[in-house]
């Protein structure tokens, strides 16, 4: 190895600002073989620094001169370093003086950048949804919380804060809303009109808005409130606010309240408030006494003086149910499953389910399932399964998007050869499978080949939906299914088929 080499020079007529020179010094210092470097204007301080490094200039220096002082392991490294200094000093600095796009990390920051009315949509994991929703409320804007798994105490606190701020929390677990014609989440393409919906149930709201559309009656808004809103714990906080907002809305002439069975005390409180509004409010809350969403729509049409149309349907194959057949209702929509059970129970007696009408009717868990929490989908007898229930959507998309589990259950049913009538829902609209029959038809065809299996489908949608009601209905009918736009009609048809089998 050669002896260390040094280069010390003073250059006149060269100026670069101190920061630039520090950058050059740093870059040269990282080169192989360079052990010390100082490229700086030759101020007394810098000359002193150079002295400390053993690289003092021999001639007197002035602050206007550029001092280049380098020590390297050998002459080659030194020459290369000096050349690199020249190159670096000759380089022109270029920059596009505009900010890089800084990502917006929170709903609060997103809303901050906007003027005018805005709506936040939150679909982050449930434990974090509260912060994003609280941002919207703090910014004076309403929020739709699609996330599930939000603790009920968060829901109550958010809805109280929203009430005080004069905004609405739709959700949590709110999958369906239409605001001024804008479809949010799972919603159908329906005409604008005078009916406002307050919905504690997504598929219930879809059924009702689609039937109204078929009757040529439009909706002003569909305000989802989340499935728990009418529970004792939440007390209808969002329902009451949504009712007040619709009462205030000139576009809304009638209000229909759609929900799964509410807590009686909450239902009473909501009814009391509704009675005091200037806009007539009709309830389509499901219960044993009022089990039928289609009937609620028909009553509303009566209020409006609109004739009830024949609800669209398609006939399927004439196959009869086998003797001793049972009802197998495989649903993607929870409220539609509830409606089917409420209608079936008086006819069939007990119907077991993963979302049962009574706790003792629970399906129990699948003993072959390693997680120990999956419902026993192969249970015998009258069974209605809600494939959209939380326990069946862990780690997978909602059955309106991912049909795998339900298709598998249909195939398994056929393989078991348990005599049955199969009742299904197929939900169309934004957010849903773009062509649900595409996967369903081959499965149904294969299942029916295995034995006599009447299939009845509640097809929830409109002609204007991206999937097209008739297109989907025709494909299902061609595969032998009986198709109804009304879930109540579909359920009653299935019950009739079972009645004929007894």
């Amino acid at each position: 190895m050669n002896a260390p080499s040094r280069h010390v020079s003073l250059r006149s007529g060269v100026y670069a600002d101190s920061v630039r020179l520090m950058q050059v010094s740093r870059d040269i210092g990282t080169r192989d073989g360079v052990t010390a470097v100082l490229v700086a204007m030759a101020t007394p301080l810098n000359v002193e620094l150079a002295q400390g490094m053993g690289l003092a200039p021999e001639e007197p220096a002035t602050p206007e001169q550029l001092l280049v002082a380098i020590r390297a392991d050998d002459d080659d490294a030194l020459a290369a370093a000096v050349a690199a200094v020249d190159t670096a000093l000759a380089e022109r600095q270029r920059s596009t003086a505009s900010a890089q796009t800084v990502p917006v990390r929170t709903v609060g920051a997103g809303l901050d950048a906007l003027d005018g009315p805005a709506l936040a949509i939150v679909s982050v994991p449930g434990q974090y949804a509260v912060a994003e929703a609280a941002d919207a409320i703090a910014a004076g804007q309403s929020v739709l919380v699609f996330s599930d798994g939000v603790p009920v105490e968060h829901e109550v606190a958010l809805k109280r804060a929203a009430h005080d701020a004069g905004v609405l929390v739709m959700g949590p677990d709110c999958g369906t809303a239409i605001v001024s014609g804008l479809a949010l989440g799972f919603a159908n393409v329906v005409r604008p009109g005078p009916v406002g919906l307050v919905a504690a149930s997504g598929t219930g709201a879809q059924q009702v808005s689609c039937l109204l559309d078929i009757a040529r009656v439009g909706v002003s808004h569909v305000l989802g409130v989340g499935g728990r809103d009418l529970s004792e714990a939440v007390g209808g906080l969002a329902t009451l606010d949504a009712l007040a907002m619709l009462d205030d809305d000139p576009a809304t002439e009638r209000v229909l309240l759609v929900s799964k069975p509410p807590a009686p005390s909450v239902a009473a409180r909501v009814a009391e408030v509704a009675a005091g509004l200037s806009t007539p409010v009709r309830s389509a809350a499901l219960s044993a006494e009022s089990p039928d969403l289609t009937a609620a729509v028909e009553a509303l049409l009566g209020d409006l003086g609109v004739a009830v149309p024949a609800w669209p349907s398609r006939s399927g194959s004439e196959v009869q149910a086998a003797p001793g057949a049972v009802l197998k209702g495989f649903y993607s929509g929870g409220t539609l499953a509830d409606e089917a059970m409420l209608l079936a129970a008086p006819v069939l007696g007990d119907v077991r389910s993963n979302t049962p009408l009574r706790p003792d009717l629970d399906l129990g868990t699948d003993r072959f399932d390693s997680s120990g929490s999956a419902p026993n989908l192969a249970a015998s007898g009258h069974v209605v399964v809600d494939f959209g229930d939380d326990a069946l959507t862990v780690g997978r998309a909602h059955p309106m998007i991912d049909p795998t589990l339900r298709l598998e259950a249909i195939s398994n049913l056929a393989a078991r050869r348990e005599p049955a009538v199969l009742l299904l829902d197929v939900v169309l609209g934004y957010g849903a499978d773009p062509d649900p029959t595409h996967a369903l038809v081959p499965t149904l065809t294969a299942a029916r080949r295995a034995g006599p299996l009447p299939v009845v489908v509640a097809l929830i949608g409109t002609e204007a939906d991206p999937q097209g009601w008739s297109r989907q209905a025709d494909a299902l009918a061609a595969a032998g299914a009986h198709v109804f736009a009304s879930n109540a009609q579909a359920t009653r048809f299935a019950l009739d088929l079972l009645g004929g089998a007894r």
Binding site: T106, V124, G181
Partner: protein, 464 residues
């Protein structure tokens, strides 16, 4: 009618993309949030804080006090008189610390101050006194004071005395010594001690007489605001501010009854020190942040300060409790052939500037600064843009020209730091690791996450 129902709303969406896609297909105006799980913090703690009904109002109250605070220069007095420092007490930067845990530059500053006060005549004797605990150490922040770098302030040092004419607060800071080998960077050789003696005998008395003679006290906040219009960010770049301070003080200095050689030396000293204004800017920020102390429920940061070993923060909702973590080493450029191994971890109370929304937070106002880390002008703009997402308000008094005179991002929210996972950006000087070295460079640094984690836990505990 509720605005939600007045027409199709613009949508801000956080979470899965399918919603946004469906909304765009309908022609809606959709803004996607680049959401990710919080950078730190227990989900239940975060929920408790965002649901605390006091928080919104408390944070508004806190940040409004910050924005309302003014700052005028009222006096220059020795620390002994104005801070009531008893003999054998030395103030330092950052959270509390002992000699045993003190880093090189803080030890250097403490040794220098002990010699300067005449409590010891040799370095060895000074070290012995300090190690034996015979000289009390206390943070500047516990005395309404701040100090850059080591922040070492002893009884005979002269202090800038500032007042908030709006809310009545007071804040103090020692006089800036200049660059290179200086006490605040941990140097304590004869050059340093000679300069300190001159500051005590000449600079302090001349400035005191000058400031007391001014019929209109210097509006320091106004100077800080103007600096941002002139390429300074008020922490690592104080060129314009120092010149303006010189301009404002000069007429009064010249009229002081002192030897003309002393007057000339004072003016030369101020004019030759590009960071002269820093010691006026820092107490200005301190006045504003102290005005926001003790607002129950507020999650706003009131102090960020470092002692060379630990970084400490305080919040408006937790009084004078410190939340500390290990100080990080800045990344930047080095003087001479100093390198990363020579640099001490982060030190100084000067992060009060960022706490107030200038310094690193207003990097966009001072593109020259960003090159200290080999960055670009777009980096400077992006840094400030990010800081807006950590802060509660924009300070209209501190406008950033290149951002269309948008106010500086002000009032760090601990909750926002946790949610974004972005830490505050601080511009800083770097002191040598070894006592006596002095300055080795300048650069950028962030607080350790631990400070904010602890603060979040403590704030959440207050809610429950």
């Amino acid at each position: 009618m509720n605005p939600l129902l007045s027409g199709p709303p613009a949508v801000v969406a956080a979470g899965v993309d399918v919603f946004s896609d469906a909304l765009r297909a309908q022609g809606a105006e959709v803004h996607d949030v680049d959401w990710r799980p919080p950078g730190f913090g227990d989900a239940a703690d975060l929920a408790a804080l965002v649901l605390d009904p006091r928080r919104g109002t408390a944070n508004r109250t806190a940040v409004e006090r910050v924005l309302a605070a003014g700052s005028v220069l009222t006096d220059v007095r020795p620390a002994r008189e104005v801070l009531g420092l008893t003999d054998r007490t030395i103030l330092h930067a950052g959270p509390p610390i002992t000699w045993a845990d003190a880093s090189g530059p803080l030890r250097g500053g403490l040794i220098g101050a002990t010699l300067f006060e005449g409590w010891a005549s040799t370095v060895a004797e000074a070290e012995r006194l300090l190690a034996a605990g015979e000289i009390a150490l206390d943070p500047c922040h516990h005395h309404s004071a701040v100090g850059p770098m080591a922040g070492v302030t002893s009884p005979s040092m002269w202090m800038w005395c500032l007042e908030d004419p709006v809310q009545g607060g007071k804040a103090y800071c020692n006089l800036n010594e200049g660059l290179g080998k200086v006490l605040r960077m941990g140097a304590f050789n004869d050059e340093v001690l000679t300069r300190l003696a001159w500051m005590r005998e000449v600079l302090g008395p001349v400035l005191a007489a000058a400031v007391r003679s001014m019929s209109d006290p210097l509006d320091v906040k106004a100077v800080l605001a103007q600096m941002l219009q002139m390429g300074d960010e008020g922490h690592n770049r104080n060129r314009a501010g120092s010149l303006m301070a010189l301009r404002e003080l000069s007429p009064a200095v010249v009229e002081v009854d002192a030897a003309s050689s002393d007057i000339a030396a004072v003016l030369r000293f101020i004019g030759g020190n590009e960071h002269f204004f820093l010691n006026l800017g820092m107490p200005t920020a301190k006045l504003a942040m102290d005005a926001a102390r003790d607002v129950p429920g507020s999650t706003m940061v009131t102090v960020m300060a470092r002692n060379g070993t630990e970084f400490g923060i305080q919040t408006a909702g937790t009084g004078d409790r410190w939340f500390t973590g290990p100080a990080q080493t800045p990344v930047g450029l080095y003087l001479g052939d100093y390198g990363p191994d020579d640099a001490n971890p982060d030190i100084g109370d000067s992060a009060i500037m960022e706490t107030y929304g200038v310094g690193g937070f207003s990097m966009a106002a001072a593109p020259a600064i960003v090159r200290f880390v080999g960055g670009t002008v777009p980096d400077a703009l992006a840094t400030t843009e990010r800081m807006y997402q950590l802060t509660l308000a924009e300070n209209p008094a501190m406008a950033i020209p290149i951002l269309g005179f948008r106010g500086s991002p002000t009032g760090i929210d601990v909750v926002s730091v946790a949610r974004t996972g972005w830490l505050p950006q601080i511009n800083t000087g770097m002191a040598g690791r070894v006592a006596g070295t002095g300055q080795v460079g300048a650069g950028l640094v962030q607080p350790p996450r631990e400070c904010f984690e602890q603060a979040l836990t403590a704030l959440a505990a207050e809610v429950r």
